[in-house]
Symmetry: C2
Subunit: 149 residues, 2 copies
DNA sequence: CGGAATAAGGACTATTTAATCCGTTTTTAT
DNA sequence: ATAAAAACGGATTAAATAGTCCTTATTCCG
């Protein structure tokens, strides 16, 4: 698994928010319900996303969270960075503690290219890019059951 | 982290064995020492690799383990499969439980390509391919300290 | 045969990650 | 003002992963 559970949830929740943008705040509980993400866990993740300026929030009745900026300006990389950090961009895939460009592990150069591609994809894709793809019907079909982990 | 700790250790240990092939069995303890892998954990991993026919073993004095076949015939994919299984080839990178070719998540196609590339690299690289790269000096420099995790 | 060296295997412990719970604060509406 | 609705934040629990330990089984060597 490349991304942590929390990070996957974060992306799923934000995709949901994007596909439902109505300039209104959505409560964490309602998001959790719609996305089948454990509500109390999602609450923690959302806290993080607010702290990292990916979401904005409001307390009290009518409160909730919303994207902090236009969907086009929130990339997958922003989300990954907020939740998991950027370790995936530097860690050796074989786990050698001191693997780097000067003292590379056997697959360093091969993996380096793939890593670049992955980072590029994350950086290139914003929530906006998925606007058309995540319809309610698709969302339901992507999650007929519970999350497995 | 794409691979589990155990899987990373397995690869490291096998790379070491390959670079030391002398048609003799090496004890798990000596491998652990040379590679700085926790010995009792490595013992478990080695058990698995023996069960999966990646290593052969012999008990008693003079016993130990050795590659079950020529290094050219042991790919990284063999090792990953033995320890972590092939989940990485099918799991949705965004964690959608039911993501597949028919009902794809937003990044399904992009990730699919990268996944293919990763799987291809694992399948294409055998221990033999690293023979020249893992000299004792390099091995030491890849691990000046402990494993970090 | 007896002892030592080694892998095998099972049970256990520790650490990290995932997830829950509950009291506090802020805000809104009545 | 008061009550309710929400996020906030800390403490706790649960589950998965990582790692240890100890006993047993096998094999070799004398």
């Amino acid at each position: 698994m490349l991304l942590s559970a929390g990070c996957e949830y974060a992306i799923q929740a934000l995709l949901y928010l994007e596909s439902n943008e109505q300039d209104e705040l959505k409560t964490v509980v309602s998001i959790a319900k719609e996305t089948s993400i454990p509500p109390s866990f999602l609450a923690k993740i959302v806290q993080r996303l607010v702290a990292e300026d990916v979401l904005v929030s409001g307390k009290g009745p009518g409160g909730g969270v919303a994207l902090a900026r236009p969907a086009a300006e929130i990339t997958l990389l922003d989300i990954v960075q907020a939740i998991d950090g950027l370790g995936f961009k530097s860690q050796c895939v074989l786990g050698f503690p001191d693997c780097n460009d000067k003292v590379p592990c056997p697959v360093h150069s091969y993996w380096g290219e793939l890593r670049e591609d992955i980072a590029y994809m994350f950086a290139a894709k914003s929530l906006k890019d998925f606007a058309s793809e995540i319809t309610p019907a698709v969302r339901r079909r992507l999650r007929t059951g519970r999350n497995k982990r």
